[in-house]
């Protein structure tokens, strides 16, 4: 069959397919709502698409001209993009993910999470304890300006310091925490691509830094305002950093030791897991920023209330990670969550 006859025979079909693509293919939400009919039934489209593929293959085999092949190819490319697109995200999926899917995912990566916890907590606690016995060591770790700043911020003799703020600066600090802390969390994950080294560095450095500040303040007797300040947001912030670190370690581990998969496939797999963990981490850190800006900074509340709320939050976060989504079938690499 010559090219022009071939075109004549199938042109109507191609035009109909193109019209359908134009009307229904562009927007998944509109397609889901069910817009006006466009001459081609939705259920018929996959079959039409396969016919088109067959026609392209035939046209290639017969050596038809490049413009015709290109037109068919373009139609198929657009059809492929519509038929194989990811489903549109839905809100209830997002909620479901935060409540159940995320803790499940964290538990499924338990090994990396424990390793991350060790990398973060051992320097933190070790340094804290060390500074109680050798307080002068802090000058090796922090520069004098940082020390002075931390001391001033949590000076129990000066109640007007940074802890009691007006609402304007609360908002300012909220913005600062969002920008700063979530960026750190996301970078902790991304650093895993450097064979895990980036993640390990961030975890250990953060552990050392927090341990140094906490240990120093405790040692010089500024502990009380410090603990009151951090108690509120620590449950969310510290666990979030550890989880981001776990995701980064997973990525690094899959790069170094992909097991029986191709290194590239292993990376892609770890990347998907890490991305979902990062979404949860970002949500946790957003909540932490909220707590840190608007709750931790309130001066007037008594210490016992702050510690009670902190304990409740710890229980809530750990219970959520431990039992959340328990017994529910694990979502297999769901793309839409």
């Amino acid at each position: 069959m010559r090219q022009e006859q071939f075109v004549e025979r199938h042109k109507v079909e191609w035009d109909a397919f193109e019209r359908w693509l134009h009307a229904r293919g562009e927007n998944p939400r509109a397609a889901r709502r069910g817009a006006a009919p466009v001459g081609l039934d939705d259920g018929e489209v996959p079959a039409r698409y396969r016919r088109l593929c067959q026609q392209l293959a035939l046209a290639r085999r017969r050596g038809y001209s490049a413009p015709l092949l290109e037109r068919l190819q373009a139609l198929i490319q657009r059809g492929h993009a519509v038929l194989y697109r990811a489903p549109a995200p839905r809100w209830h999926r997002a909620v479901e993910f935060l409540v159940a899917g995320f803790p499940q995912l964290v538990r499924s990566q338990a090994g990396c999470m424990w390793a991350s916890l060790l990398l973060f907590a051992v320097p933190l606690v070790g340094l804290f304890v060390l500074l109680q016995f050798k307080p002068e060591l802090v000058h090796q770790l922090l520069d004098p300006r940082q020390i002075a700043q931390a001391e001033a911020m949590f000076d129990p003799a000066d109640p007007r310091q940074a802890l009691g703020r007006d609402s304007g600066s609360d908002w300012q600090m909220f913005g600062h925490y969002v920008m700063n802390n979530i960026s750190i969390g996301l970078r902790t994950f991304a650093g895993g691509l450097l064979a895990g080294v980036g993640t390990i560095l961030v975890l250990v450095a953060n552990g050392l830094n927090i341990g140094a500040v906490a240990g120093h303040l405790q040692a010089i007797g500024h502990g009380e305002p410090f603990w009151r300040f951090v108690a509120g947001h620590a449950p969310l912030e510290l666990t979030a950093i550890v989880i981001a670190g776990g995701a980064g370690l997973r990525l690094g581990l899959d790069l170094v030791a992909p097991g029986r998969r191709r290194r590239r496939d292993a990376l892609v797999h770890a990347g998907r897991i890490g991305a979902r963990l990062c979404l949860g981490v970002a949500a946790m850190l957003l909540l932490a920023a909220f707590v840190e800006a608007f709750w931790s900074s309130t001066q007037s509340l008594p210490a016992w209330l702050k510690y009670t709320v902190s304990a409740a939050l710890w229980l809530l976060v750990l219970g959520w990670l431990w039992r959340g989504g328990h017994g529910r079938a694990a979502a297999e690499d769901g793309d839409a969550s």
Partner: protein
């Protein structure tokens, strides 16, 4: 064509054609239907330009926001920082996932992010490839990303490799090329498919070349046409017409 005629074909033909060696950066993806899609991968230069356009857009946005929010004191500063966070991290993710794989910069440069198999990019891959920018930026100015891009066959930076995505050129819709009508003439000998394609391509592109160049190209085919100069060009047009089935 009735369905049974389709089934009577010995096998899907698309996979049967001889692989044409391509000198371009096309990435060929075989769809589940057995047809090869050609994805024209984009190199580092247009992508860097798109990034600069995006940078300018983001800078302009933050400048405008800064002026408005500056009036609000501490609250404004907080909102400004939140906006900075969103513009820095969420801008590429949201645009790529929700706007056909294009940020404004990519749209300006005619680029698009697609999944490795040519399908539209989903939310998770968009998140991965943009979080990984933190590594691609190392040690300065996207040096790691550029290096990875130059080493990869399809110009993917590290983030693309982890997310299994690809940045492709959006091909402009072509104007239907017009083959000048000429008296159809059968080629004096049977031609291979790629030779036929070359003849038709010549017919479609030659009208945009100068007559001298047309004749020069046609002279290469003297063994086929038997003549040179303007007559050779006309004969090639005739053969192209014949190959398209116009008689």
């Amino acid at each position: 064509m009735p369905p049974q005629a389709v089934a009577a074909q010995p096998r899907p033909a698309g996979t049967g054609t001889a692989p044409v060696p391509m000198l371009d950066t096309y990435r060929e993806v075989l769809t589940p239907e057995g047809v090869a899609l050609h994805l024209p991968a984009a190199g580092p230069v247009p992508r860097a330009l798109a990034w600069l356009v995006d940078l300018a857009a983001r800078g302009g946005l933050m400048l405008a926001l800064g002026m408005v929010l500056g009036l609000l004191g501490g609250l404004g500063q907080g909102l400004y920082l939140v906006a900075l966070f969103l513009v820095f991290w969420a801008y590429p993710i949201v645009f790529e996932a929700a706007w056909h794989g294009q940020t404004p910069g990519k749209r300006a440069l005619g680029l698009r992010v697609v999944a490795g198999d040519g399908a539209p990019v989903g939310w998770l891959p968009a998140v991965v490839r943009n979080l990984m920018r933190a590594v691609d930026m190392l040690p300065f100015g996207y040096a790691a990303g550029l290096l990875a891009c130059l080493c990869d066959r399809h110009g993917r930076r590290l983030g693309d490799q982890v997310a299994d995505t690809l940045v492709v050129h959006v091909l402009p819709r072509r104007i239907e090329p017009r083959l000048p009508a000429a008296a159809a003439m059968a080629p004096p000998q049977a031609l291979q498919p790629d030779e036929q394609a070359a003849l038709v391509a010549f017919g479609e592109r030659a009208p945009r070349l100068s007559p001298g160049r047309q004749a020069e190209l046609a002279a290469l085919l003297q063994p086929l046409t038997g003549t040179a100069g303007g007559e050779g060009v006309r004969r090639l047009y005739g053969m192209a017409n014949w190959l398209l089935g116009r008689r």
